[in-house]
């Protein structure tokens, strides 16, 4: 099959060789180590703790949830005592209220765990409830609650369920390993999703730099007529939701709209495995695969960790940093979009896909020079924006012009900064102004809503 792709984008060196052929290894938290469960690991309302300090929790116990529709519960991934509830640093750089559990090392499981069910006998509502009840969110990075994604508004019929296996971020190999090692679970998870949307076609999109994954997945879906594997051109950001949809279906998700508006649901490989585990194995989301890579780590590889472990515990468990060439920069996720960390004392969360340990050479930050208007940022921006212009707006503090030039449509993929020969911090400046302007927009919308409500109320009182 011919490989498909989207317009523009960049080709950073992929760096995947470091960890691609390392099989997934299980890393269990050490006895007496502390695990942190931040109350917000997803898009939507934060959870509230269901346990108190001093409580004993077991593996698989729901320890926090929220009554809001757009939210996702959180589960203990070890057994032990709740020793504290306090703010903890998460990879995004913020402090989030977290339940601290001291691991007693017994891995005692709560009753009722491992009650796998046959999805073919379940109703759609039961499946959605089970997915919500298992705390499954998008594990590719955004953390959008999966049960909400799988239940789009009725006026958006779903034609495609796309499995995002592009893994376009350099260095990351966790999705690749899952495809090579557990293809049948991915297919099973996708079949569960397809049961919810029987008219949809399942497409697994994989970049061409993973021929083995393409081969194995193609074999795994042989004989299943509503699932195909689609090779994709190796290009960043191929795994961006909008660009994956564009490549495979030739549909464009409109500015500000969700994929469902284009008849598509997109989920990451690990998310699909999480769905399969939730339904068929009866296990909530407690683990994930993390790629630890970079020249500064002794044993780069792919590790199945218990969510809640600190990254320090993870690094210690796998042999630590290289002594002769220690990392100077830590990145949570891939090098194009992952935030850098100033410490390893960070809780791993549902969306932690990677930890990169960059040495001095890898972490080199070039000096920013004058924009020479070469237009390479414009040529490569996957959203068709003019990053150099948005950068100028950002530096001038001209938020109005920033919005007028579609700054809010930026997906922050960093392709512009990657290409820029003047090494300007394009994505960084755009991201900063985007936050401010998006906040203003939300505030204006809220004010307009409040005004409309007040008017409606006044009108009602008048009558």
């Amino acid at each position: 099959m011919q490989a498909l792709t989207f317009k523009r984008g960049v080709h950073p060196p992929d760096g995947k060789a470091l960890s691609a052929e390392q099989p997934i290894q299980v890393v269990l938290p050490k006895e007496n180590s502390e695990l942190f469960y931040p109350m917000s690991q997803h898009i939507g309302a934060p959870c509230e703790p269901l346990v108190a300090i001093g409580d004993h929790v077991k593996v698989g116990q729901k320890i926090a949830e929220s009554p809001a529709f757009l939210s996702s519960p959180i589960f203990a991934s070890v057994s032990g005592e709740v020793v504290d509830i306090r703010p903890m640093l998460v990879p995004g750089g913020t402090m989030v209220k977290s339940i601290v559990v001291k691991n007693d090392g017994k891995m005692e499981e709560i009753e009722g765990l491992n009650q796998g069910r046959d999805y073919t006998t379940m109703t759609n509502d039961e499946i959605l409830a089970a997915i919500k009840g298992a705390g499954v969110v998008g594990l590719g990075g955004a953390g959008f609650p999966t049960h909400v994604k799988l239940n789009p508004p009725k006026d958006n019929p779903i034609d495609y369920i796309l499995i995002n296996a592009a893994e376009c971020e350099p260095y990351l190999t966790c999705d690749y390993r899952l495809m090579v090692e557990e293809p049948e679970r991915i297919i099973k998870g996708l079949q569960i999703m397809l049961k919810l949307h029987p008219n949809a076609k399942g497409v697994i999109g994989i970049e061409e730099n993973k021929p083995k994954a393409i081969e194995i997945m193609t074999k795994a879906c042989e004989g299943i007529d509503n699932i195909v594997v689609q090779p994709l051109v190796t290009k960043f950001p191929q795994g961006s939701e909008k660009h994956l949809i564009s490549a495979i279906t030739k549909r464009e998700v409109k500015s500000g709209a969700l994929p469902a508006s284009a008849g598509c649901i997109v989920d990451n490989v690990d998310t699909v495995v999480a769905i399969e585990r939730a339904i068929c194995k009866g296990r909530p989301l407690m683990r994930r695969i993390v790629t630890v890579s970079g020249q500064g780590i002794k044993n780069p590889g792919n590790y199945k960790i218990r969510i809640g472990m600190t990254l320090r515990d993870l690094v210690d468990a796998i042999g630590g940093f290289k002594e002769d060439n220690p990392p100077v920069k830590l990145i949570a996720g891939g090098p194009m979009m992952g935030p850098s960390l100033y410490t390893l004392d960070v809780a791993s969360v549902k969306t932690t896909s990677g930890l990169l340990c960059f040495t001095k050479e890898e972490a080199y930050i070039p000096e920013e020079k004058n924009c020479i208007r070469c237009g390479k940022c414009v040529d490569h921006c996957p959203m068709g924006l003019m990053p150099f212009l948005l950068n100028a707006c950002a530096l001038k503090g001209d938020g109005e012009a920033f919005v007028a030039h579609h700054g809010l449509d930026c997906i922050e993929c960093g392709s512009c900064s990657y290409e820029c020969p003047a090494k300007r911090h394009l994505a960084q400046s755009i991201r900063a102004v985007k936050k401010v302007e998006a906040g203003k927009k939300a505030a204006a919308a809220a004010a307009a809503r409040a005004k409309a409500e007040a008017e409606a109320k006044a009108k009602a009182e008048k009558n």
Partner: protein, 320 residues
Amino acid sequence: MANFVVSGTPHVRSKESIQSIMRDVIIALVPASVMGIYFFGVRALMIIVAAVASAVFFEWLYQKIMKKPVTINDLSAVVTGLLLAMNLPVATPIWVPIVGSAFAIIIAKQLFGGLGQNFINPALAGRAFLVASYPTEMTSWTSAGNFGADAVAVATPLAQLKGGVIPDASFTDVLVGNIGGCIGETCAVALIIGGIYLIAKHVISWKVPVIYIATVFVLTAAIGRNGLRVPTYELFTGGLMLGAFFMATDYASSPVTAKGQVIFALGCGLITTLIRIFGGYPEGVSYSILIMNLCVPLIERFTEPTIFGALPKVKEAKKA
């Protein structure tokens, strides 16, 4: 291991830099420079050296006086000086390239904010200043290969066309550059090789040079001048190749948008033809590019790319 570096994304950057781009432009100009020196003699080399050295010097001087970081190692001043030398006749006095470089670097480039901020091409601005101020020194053409005591004043092929006669140079001479003209503009083959190198290295897009040259070809073939329709001479003599590949593609003074580049190149081609046929000068490349430079902000305003997701496009995929 206490202090980790924290920075905004992305954490990987391409290897390309301003310096590497400028180096590629210099490499691309090497064939034309060598041919210029071959045909016009060692004096051509002296003019090139004077222009380049003074351009670098004036950039350094300005930045020192203004207490700004010195950026001469980005090689952009070298490119400006080299391009200016390419645009000078070999018989010009040695102070001419120095004055031209001063104007190009200080007035056209640095006073507007330095690299990337100049709204017109600095080398062409320098040349235009020289042509306006010292017309005699700037238009004393000598035949190729004859510089020295027996230098012969010749008319350039374009001047002959202007006068209504078919140029006496053979087409082979025109291609290799064995004709009268500026140091770097006569060897069309060398310039095309340099241009192809820049396109292959993704330094410039093919759009501007190809559309510019094609426009001149079509218009001169259609209109002709003095009843002569010899578009091949129009293309390969004069400054068209140099202008199309190296001047009109200047980043700072040409549009960044793909559509804008098309309009810009069409405009350059049109104005070049109009000046050649209806204007007072035999050649119109420099002025056409300078005029189009001034239109760039306007062109860009109307050619902003359509963003992803701007229009509802729901088409059924052919294959998925």
